[in-house]
């Protein structure tokens, strides 16, 4: 009944909000604001409700256990959590330098005519469907990384270290390519806002362009931090591309990034189709979703806070 009411009341709510726009504009606008706040609240509440069965049964052990054993109805998301952390770490380590590189390239190196085009290319990368990134990762990047890493390792230790093209490392590299534009957009914006008088001061004391870029990057470090958290939030939440290249290793716990693994989001995506057949899997997956929600909320909130504080 509750769900029914929810859906049914939605339509009159929106119609009322629209109507109010014409009569009492401000209240109409406020109703739209309330809508978004209510959505977030409802989302968190629903996940708590759906995850309740397994939290009631296992407590918070579901977050710390490493075994994902549907047959025994024993679920732990720790290896997925570890996978999320590892892939995000690899992705951020590769993405931040590239994002800073993009900001400096656009603002310091490129002539004015090329700046718009380059910027559009970076933005286009952000608009590309993630499933196409996954497709490319599946058939091009994965095999390439396997060959590249193994030829290096054969040279160094005489053996292949990456047995499958689909590993946490592959997912991390693919993620890096996908999240760079997000961090780059924020850093670019901040960098372009460095005031002209400050720029003149930096050059007047005899800095080279490279040295000046460094000083400016220091000046916009709030934006760099903000871009960092924005990209991190994106990396932790990305599902489809990661699911296609991470290897789907549900059973074995590993911290070796050159092995196949799993992340929380790809766990949900890959296991949900099975979930109806088991009693506790759906709640377990919702518990994972709850975790992802809390991460997403926290990280995005931090990112916004940092960017806004720097703007004052």
């Amino acid at each position: 009944m509750l769900g029914f009411l929810l859906v049914v009341l939605l339509i009159p709510y929106l119609i009322a909000a629209y109507g109010l726009l014409f009569v009492k504009l401000r209240w109409g606008l406020r109703l739209f604001g309330a809508f978004i706040v209510a959505t977030i609240g409802l989302l968190t509440a629903m996940f708590l409700v759906e995850a309740y069965p397994i939290i009631a049964r296992d407590g918070v052990a579901v977050f710390f256990q490493t075994r994902w054993d549907p047959v025994r109805e024993s679920y732990g998301v720790l290896q997925a959590l570890t996978g999320t952390v590892l892939t995000s770490a690899v992705a951020m380590a590769l993405a931040m330098p590239m994002a800073i590189g993009v900001a400096v390239t656009i603002n310091e190196i490129l002539p004015a005519r090329l700046r718009g085009i380059f910027g559009s290319l970076v933005d286009l990368t952000a608009t590309m469907p993630t499933v196409i990134f996954g497709l490319w990762g599946l058939f091009v990047l994965g095999p390439f990384l396997k060959d590249a890493v193994n030829s290096v390792s054969r040279y160094l230790v005489g053996d292949d270290v990456m047995t499958s093209p689909y590993t946490l490392f592959t997912a991390g590299v693919l993620l890096a390519i996908m999240i760079t534009p997000y961090a780059a957009a924020v850093i670019r914006e901040g960098y372009a806002l460095v005031p002209k008088p400050v720029e003149e001061a930096i050059y007047a004391v005899g800095a080279t362009r490279f040295e000046a870029a460094f000083i400016k990057l220091r000046y916009v470090r709030n934006y760099i931090l903000g871009g960092f958290f924005l990209a991190l939030g994106r990396a932790m939440g990305e599902t489809v591309a990661v699911a296609m290249v991470v290897g789907g290793n549900f059973s074995r716990f590993t911290t070796n990034i050159l092995e196949s693994g799993i992340t929380i989001s790809s766990l949900i995506a890959l296991q949900f189709p099975n979930a109806a057949s088991y009693q506790y899997m759906v709640p377990a997956l919702f518990a994972g979703a709850l975790l992802l929600t809390l991460f997403g909320l926290a990280i995005n909130a931090v990112a916004i806070y940092i960017i806004q504080r720097g703007q004052i």
């Binding site: 004015a112 008088p197 003149e200 001061a201 007047a204 004391v205 005899g206 000083i215």
Partner: protein
């Protein structure tokens, strides 16, 4: 030989000409004032001299500029900026750096000192000359953005003086300061001219009359008149000059 020589300097921003043929000699160890109404090109001339104009890609420069006989466009720009320092109209310390770091920045970048002790000595001496040392000596690590306007400008003066430059370019440095700080800066310039050449852009003829040795009157991108200050003010040869120094031209 004059310290600085401009020969047929022309500057345009895109299609708009700003300086249309300037010939000027700046004598050593003196204060030369560049005065003229807004838009006459005074600040542009200053920015040519330390090649800061290169930050404006639309600017086209032709002509020759000599520092001690050397063409500044043939010099390495870093070497030029070691010798020619600038103070701006609106104080522009780098706000997130500390007071100490602001003064030390140029010295560190250009490797002008060889030890932390030497760095500290030069920063202290620059701040003392700029008459800021006493006010900040207990908080050298505080961010420069927290200083008052007058203090920030003196910080920028210290930043320039730390180089022990040969030429000091001042772009309307007291335009945003109160009379007390203005007097301090003017007194400072009178002291400094014994060691260096000062080129002062001023919007305010009485200031030129007060402290400069030579004055050049710039109007619509051209030097209308130039000579010892006393002559320019008391016996101007051009009607425009006379109108300007008596405050009837802006």
């Amino acid at each position: 030989m004059a310290k600085v020589e401009f020969k047929d300097l022309r500057v345009s921003f895109g299609a708009l000409p700003v300086i249309t043929g300037v010939n000027l000699s700046i004598p050593d160890r003196s204060i030369t004032a560049l005065m003229g109404p807004s838009g006459s090109g005074k600040s542009t001339i200053l920015r040519v001299l330390n090649r800061l104009l290169e930050l404006y890609p639309e600017a086209r420069v032709s002509g020759e500029v000599y520092l001690d006989g050397q063409n500044i466009f043939d010099m390495n720009v870093l070497e030029l900026r070691r010798k020619v320092q600038m103070i701006f109209q609106i104080p522009n310390p780098i706000p997130n750096l500390s007071i100490f770091e602001n003064v030390a920045l140029g010295l560190k970048l250009n490797r002008l000192v060889r030890s932390r002790g030497e760095l500290f000595k030069r920063v202290k001496s620059a701040l003392e000359k700029a008459q800021l040392w006493d006010e900040v000596k207990d908080r050298l690590g505080a961010p420069a953005g927290k200083l008052s306007g007058g203090q920030q400008q003196r910080l920028c003066v210290a930043r320039a003086l730390a180089f022990e430059p040969e030429v000091l370019l001042a772009d309307e440095p007291t335009a945003n300061l109160d009379p007390e700080n203005t007097a301090k800066v003017e007194a400072l310039f009178l002291e400094l001219k014994k060691e260096m050449t000062i080129v002062l852009v001023t919007h305010y003829p009485p200031q030129a009359a007060r402290i400069s040795d030579y004055a050049a009157f710039l109007y619509k991108g051209q030097i209308v008149e130039w000579g010892p200050t006393r002559d320019v003010f008391t016996k101007p040869r051009h009607e425009l000059t006379e109108k300007y120094v008596t405050g009837r031209l802006y």
